[in-house]
């Protein structure tokens, strides 16, 4: 084994992290190499000096503070869970109140509309009759016209304007009215 490799693996050897084969080879090298052996012992001494650094007791308030923090976190978590549920409940209640009011209003409006419809229908009837009469007025006028045409068609002879009309016996007669 080379000294360079041995010196680079002294730490792992001390920590028991070398495989058994490599550890045995390193141990054998140390037994015959003063330089590597000196470095090994210096490292072991420095490492063992760390044992003088003993544990310290944590303050009692540490445990209390930890538990207090966790309790606070649990309360916050519970609050965060309850807020959406409370909001949903408020929305449901508000919707019930608004919707319920709306139904009643709608029913009242329908009643008003029904009454109005009745009132409107009476008025509508008179108006509709008038509109019918007006719409049909022209037809009435045309009916008179067509009746006049029928009457004229039954007349065999129709004198010209200024000519004396003749009766059925060929005698002149006068029409009750003249058609132009």
């Amino acid at each position: 084994m080379h000294c360079e490799w041995v010196k680079q693996n002294l730490s792992a050897y001390i920590d028991g992290e070398l495989g058994s084969g490599l550890a045995d080879g390193l141990k054998e090298h140390l037994s015959s190499c003063n330089s590597c052996s000196a470095e090994y012992h210096a490292m072991v001494r420095a490492w063992e000096m760390l044992d003088a650094w003993e544990d310290v007791l944590p303050p009692e308030r540490l445990r209390q503070n930890i538990l207090s923090d966790v309790r606070r976190f649990r309360r916050q978590k519970w609050t965060m869970m309850m807020i959406p549920a409370a909001a949903a409940l408020i929305i449901v209640i508000a919707a019930f109140l608004l919707f319920g009011t709306g139904v009643r209003e709608e029913q009242g409006l329908l009643a008003v509309r029904s009454e109005t419809a009745l009132v409107l229908s009476d008025r509508d009837l008179a108006e509709r009759e008038k509109e019918e009469i007006i719409a049909n007025l022209q037809l009435l006028q045309e009916r008179d016209f067509y009746e006049s045409i029928e009457t004229l068609r039954k007349i065999d002879y129709l004198p010209l304007v200024g000519e004396e009309p003749r009766g059925e016996d060929g005698q002149s007669s006068s029409l009750e009215y003249a058609v132009t």
Partner: protein, 190 residues
Amino acid sequence: MDDTDIGLMERIRNGDTDAFETLVARHQRSVFNLACRFLHDEGEAEDIAQEAFVRVYKAAPSYSPEAKFTTWLYTIVRNLCFNVIRKRQGADLVPIEDETIPELPSRTDDPLEVLEKKQINEKVREAVAALPENLRMAVILQKFYGMSYEEIAKVFGCSQNAVKLRVHRAKELLVRKLGGFDRENTGETN
């Protein structure tokens, strides 16, 4: 009842707060010390530990045990610690030496030994604090948490070879920082 870390996480997911308290009690010391050793600041380490456990709780619903629980936990701590470092660098802050960290009682009553230990402790902390952040975290996880290169690689999201190089480089730097001090204390000469 499953009291393993993964079992506790399962119970936390189902809303078991006792399981969370058990998890905190089990790991708060290691999390606090990891942050403390890395940041060299007790106040920030406390904040990091607090934030880390809150994140564990928040992540419980989506937690999937693909690795050891501690690997995942220390990844969270590592990320939080690195965020602090970046903020410090942005604000040009210098970590303040904290002299009020309560230490565990010494195993010996010999004042000289106590003093020596304290000096070594200080020197070690300085040496580790001087390491670049990636090397520092790798050393702490390997030395104080007994993590393998494979586990450290998962925390960093890098290859095992990269971890091996980092740990090796960190040890070389520690030897330079601590090797001379050690020889002074023990009277060894080169």
